[in-house]
Symmetry: C2
Subunit: 111 residues, 2 copies
Amino acid sequence: MAGKNLVGPEADALDLGAVFRALADEHRRSVIARLAADHSDSERGCNSFDLPISKQTQTHHFRVLREAGLVHEIDYGNRKGIRLRRADIERRFPGLLALLGAESPGGAAPR
Amino acid sequence: MAGKNLVGPEADALDLGAVFRALADEHRRSVIARLAADHSDSERGCNSFDLPISKQTQTHHFRVLREAGLVHEIDYGNRKGIRLRRADIERRFPGLLALLGAESPGGAAPR
DNA sequence: TTTCGGGTACGATTCAAGTCGTACCTGGAG
DNA sequence: CTCCAGGTACGACTTGAATCGTACCCGAAA
């Protein structure tokens, strides 16, 4: 019941190329944007994003996000949760998450 | 001698996905990082970056950067120059250029 | 235990992107 | 004029990424 924490790279090892590659995809960017918009940073179910793609493809995208160091994945066996690594991201790439609000409704779009 | 200015998208039409896709490539990111590090924003020759790739491939990369709206290209016929669209980028995606300094020497790497 | 929903593993497919070879264009130098 | 260096156009190749089908795993609930 505890849930195994699937680990990604250390905060210091975050690679800007991998991050940009991860955020280049529309689906992954939408996930991170919604996580960034929720300032409570609570854990969220992986199937709560209503992505218009099959579950196999979702598995692939969440893996990419984890390997890029953007999210933590918590495996409960029959379901999974993710949590935004906001502190790590802000430390290495300050301001990056704020950029995602520029195209997502509900985010802090500057005007 | 005047040089035709090859135009990219308008400042308001900059797409975050296209920008991330453009910056996902190491060569293109290195070009933008060096342009961003030079705060004088002067025009720069396209062959002044010593990219370890053929000139045909360089043509491809500079085109991607222009179509993403990150640089202006100035065509002189037998040579070409590029200029960073710093103001436009800062207006749409404030702080983005600063992130590139996190991995390039000469930039403002935080420590 | 069986059932069921969420998730993964592996493979196949499709498509986009990075790369370069060949040929050609352009403007300046000699 | 010719030559030359920088740049482009077009095509081909190769790799990687996104997607899904099939089969299987896991934990909770009936």
